[in-house]
């Protein structure tokens, strides 16, 4: 039949056309150029205004475009001078006076001085400031203890706090404390977040929506020009696609590599970087009612969970076993003598028997995923199995992250006995102060969703927050960790080890315990 001839011809023609159109177009996946680092990010940034954003993903860009008055010294969580060269603190801990660095300009050419610093904090904190409406500023409460900020000289700024607040300096090192160009805010208003200008090692060049944010080297950077010519931040939300891009050479750096994908990057072509950070993954236990109201049952849960198996098998080594409420990354405040609860199912059974509860029934809130939550479903299932092995009867209820927060943050009373949770913080004060004090129960606006209460811990945390001497603070935090571990208001599970992969063209790359991505010293061939 002639028809078949035609169809064959037609099919051939179509196939040929398709092959020409699809295959022979261009040498696909060209190598990325030298001197230009392409970073695979986990999402599109929300804005490049450091006062308006909350996501670690955005911080990775911001920390390279802006500076704060102070910053974390490389490899630590201790502050060192940045835009301020030094500072003094009054004896009562309420007046901080900063001397500013001379000769620094914003990328838009306007000068950095005391007036600029005052503008930054007034914009965030003072509702009557003409540019306060360029917000909202969700993390401005980091500085809620600031009563006033004044330019007491051309290059001197004085902050007066309403009460002594020791985390003030480390909050200044956090992205919320980064200094933006007042001239750029005045020019762009609410669109400043897409037209950012700071003093950092890289200058903002271009934001192509959903494709890339491009920053180029600032040759006049006060801390020396960066080795790279430019950095391209690409949002690739799907972890499998991000892995494929890294393997195909489309990106040079990949952050937050999924544990299951790590095996792809063994070998000489890639380097895996790891760094434990100020993160803790724990289970909130409802100490108000139900089985966990008895401290022995809470301790039993801590003995029953096989943390080693969770960090090594479920998380493939992307976390370390947590011993207490404070992550070891806060080296100066961490109590080295604290040993994690050992995995001891027999001891757990004994404690349950002592408490007269061989088979306590518990409801366990699990989330599908969320900031810092690692692999919550797999971890939740492993924990359920461990607890059931010693006699608990565990019912899991799983919720999407925002729904989950909406159920957990108002408190577990009448709802559940146990819930997953994770925090990343920048000061050892933050998490225990917001989640372990009696005055931080949910009805008082805190995050103590398990209703833990110990007056001794309350007193230690209050004093640690107001003490200005770091050694004294460290002593108080160490004491707090011992008591909290013994009281077991949480099951302390894991501290996240953040990872990243670089290809063999990247040099000088390292992760920071702050979880920030600092590219000033990175080079690429």
């Amino acid at each position: 039949m002639s028809f078949l001839n035609l169809s064959r011809r037609a099919a051939l023609a179509l196939t040929a056309a398709a092959a020409v159109a699809l295959g022979g177009l261009s040498p696909a996946t060209a190598q990325t150029p030298p001197g230009v680092l392409v970073v695979g990010q986990i999402a599109e940034p929300q804005a490049l205004d450091p006062h308006a954003v909350t996501a670690v993903n955005d911080f990775r860009i911001l920390m390279n475009v802006y500076d704060g008055l102070v910053r974390y010294a490389s490899g630590t969580l201790e502050v060192e001078p940045a835009l301020a060269t030094d500072w003094t603190i009054s004896d009562d801990g309420t007046v901080y006076t900063f001397t500013l660095r001379e000769g620094v300009s914003f990328h838009d050419g306007s000068p950095f001085n005391a007036e600029a610093v005052v503008f930054n904090f007034e914009r965030m904190l003072n509702e009557d400031h003409p540019f306060h409406d360029t917000g909202p500023f969700p993390l401005s409460f980091f500085f809620s203890s600031v009563d006033s900020v004044e330019a007491t000289g051309d290059m001197e700024v004085t902050f007066t706090l309403s009460e002594p607040y020791a985390p003030f300096l480390s909050n200044l090192a956090y992205p919320t404390g980064l200094i933006v160009s007042p001239a750029a805010v005045e020019q762009y208003g609410a669109d400043f977040g897409r037209n950012p200008s700071g003093t950092g090692a890289f200058r903002f060049e271009e934001w192509r929506s959903n494709e890339a944010v491009v920053v180029v080297a600032n040759p006049d950077y006060w801390d020396g020009a960066p080795a790279l010519e430019a950095v391209v931040f690409r949002p690739i939300t799907d972890a499998n696609t991000r892995t494929a891009e890294m393997l195909a050479g489309g990106i040079d750096v990949m952050v937050e590599v999924p544990p299951v994908a790590l095996g792809e990057f063994e070998g000489d072509a890639f380097t895996i970087h790891e760094q434990a950070g100020p993160h803790v993954w724990f289970l909130i236990l409802n100490a108000l009612e139900g089985p966990f109201a008895d401290v022995r049952v809470r301790q039993a849960a801590n003995y029953a969970v096989n943390r080693e198996a969770i960090v090594n098998d479920v998380l493939e080594g992307t976390a370390e076993v947590a011993a207490g409420p404070t992550p070891p990354a806060f080296a100066w405040a961490y109590n080295d003598e604290l040993e994690p609860y050992p995995y001891d199912p027999d001891r757990a059974r004994e404690l349950l028997a002592e408490a007269g509860m061989e088979n306590p029934e518990i409801t366990f809130y699990v989330t599908e995923g969320g900031s810092g939550m690692l692999d919550p479903i797999a971890m939740g299932t492993a924990i359920q199995a461990d607890l059931e092995a010693v006699g608990f009867d565990v019912t899991i209820e799983t919720y999407e992250w925002n729904t989950f927060l909406g159920r957990v943050n108002p408190g577990l009373e009448g709802e559940a006995d146990m819930a997953e949770m994770a925090w990343m913080t920048n000061d050892p004060d933050t998490l225990p102060y917001l989640a372990l004090r009696t005055a931080a129960w949910p009805d008082q606006g805190g995050f103590n969703s398990g209703y833990y209460s110990n007056p001794e811990v309350d007193a230690l945390l209050e004093e640690a927050r107001t003490a200005t001497d770091q050694d004294r603070r460290a002593e108080l935090y160490r004491e707090m960790q011992v008591i909290v571990q013994e009281d077991a208001p949480w099951v302390f599970v894991a501290n996240w080890v953040q990872n990243a992969v670089t290809n063999d063209r990247v040099e000088g790359f390292g992760l920071e315990p702050s979880f920030f991505l600092l590219l000033h010293d990175v080079a690429k061939n």
């Binding site: 179509l14 909202p136 969700p138 977040g193 696609t241 729904t403 909406g406």
Partner: protein, 315 residues
């Protein structure tokens, strides 16, 4: 004809209002709010209340709906909380990318689907028919996101024929050729299932027509077989194929969501997924209403096209 089109356009208005009410209520009812999503770990009731006030979410529900609707009628879709830019700018930009992807997939599935269906029908129970039916079934059975991932693994990571993801290269010029290079894999992955559906329905539509008297008449008076199939029969079959294409257009648009996630295509589907996870209320509402409006218009166009093809369909 003009009267018919006008009537159809007017009847679309209550549909769109209904959609706006539904999407507004869904966004109001789902647990979690933008302030909680933005604040994450720091979402104390106090911080949430303060941020909600800043975002204007402390107004009563009905007031919020009418403010939103009246602004939207005037062309103001509001500002996205999460992206800090006007909703309409974002939606238009992203919708353009989706149209390129879904449009290409739609053309692919129409051309290849109809061609496969016609060839199948013309060779009923022959080798060509069986081969095509087998391939078509395979295509319908593979989930498109899985196909997409496999294509990335084989053609991008191993063979390096195509870029892994994105719409444009990070470096270099933006030409039609590099666009096609980036478009090839996602468009094919998206088109595969729809092609199968179109092929199967085209086949049965053609078989129906081929049994009719006028085809026998055409053959009897010596019209060449090619002409019988492609000119006489296909034209008659198109009346029942076009509505299927209309449905497939909607299918391709919604299927684009997965494909956009896998291939990181900067389209409106990926935008909506991100926006829902961030509880970016105005972006979700504006995006859904915009897409619904486009879909309604497209359906009107399909009906009009059908009535042009077949005068028996009353206008």
């Amino acid at each position: 004809m003009a009267g018919y089109i006008l009537k159809r356009l007017l009847s679309a208005i209550p549909v769109l209002i209904g959609i706006s009410v539904i999407v507004f209520l869904i966004m109001a009812m789902i647990p979690g709010d933008p302030a909680t999503a933005i604040l994450g770990s720091y979402a104390t009731p106090e911080n949430v209340a303060a941020l909600n006030e800043d975002l204007g979410l402390d107004e009563p529900l009905v007031t919020r709906y009418f403010i939103w609707l009246s602004n939207m009628v005037q062309g103001d879709f509001g500002r996205s909380f999460a992206l800090n830019r006007p909703v309409l700018d974002e939606v238009l930009e992203r919708f353009g990318a989706t149209l390129v992807l879904a449009g290409t997939a739609f053309v692919l599935c129409s051309v290849f689907g109809i061609a496969a269906g016609v060839i199948s029908a013309a060779n009923q129970y022959g080798f060509g028919d069986k081969a095509i039916t087998f391939v078509v079934l395979l295509g319908i059975s593979i989930p498109s996101f899985f196909l997409g991932m496999m294509m990335i693994l084989i053609f991008a990571v191993n063979l390096r024929w195509f870029p892994v993801s994105g719409m444009w290269p990070i470096f270099g010029d933006r030409t039609i050729w590099v666009l096609l290079d980036h478009l090839a894999m996602p468009a094919i992955a998206l088109a595969v299932v729809a092609t199968g559906v179109v092929a199967r329905l085209s086949r049965s539509a053609m078989l129906e027509v081929l049994r009719q008297d006028f085809i026998r008449t055409a053959r009897a008076k010596g019209v060449r077989e090619n002409s019988v199939i492609w000119r006489h029969a296909l034209r008659a079959a198109m009346v029942s194929i076009i509505p299927v294409l209309g449905i497939q257009a909607g299918f391709v648009l919604s299927g684009a969501v997965y494909i956009e996630m896998v291939f990181q295509w900067p389209g409106v589907g990926r935008m909506l997924v991100d926006a829902i996870l961030r509880r970016d209320i105005l972006l979700v509402q504006g995006g859904v209403v915009f897409i619904a409006a486009c879909y309604v218009l497209f359906n009107i166009a399909v009906d009009v096209a059908q009535s042009l093809l077949d005068p028996r369909i009353k206008t």
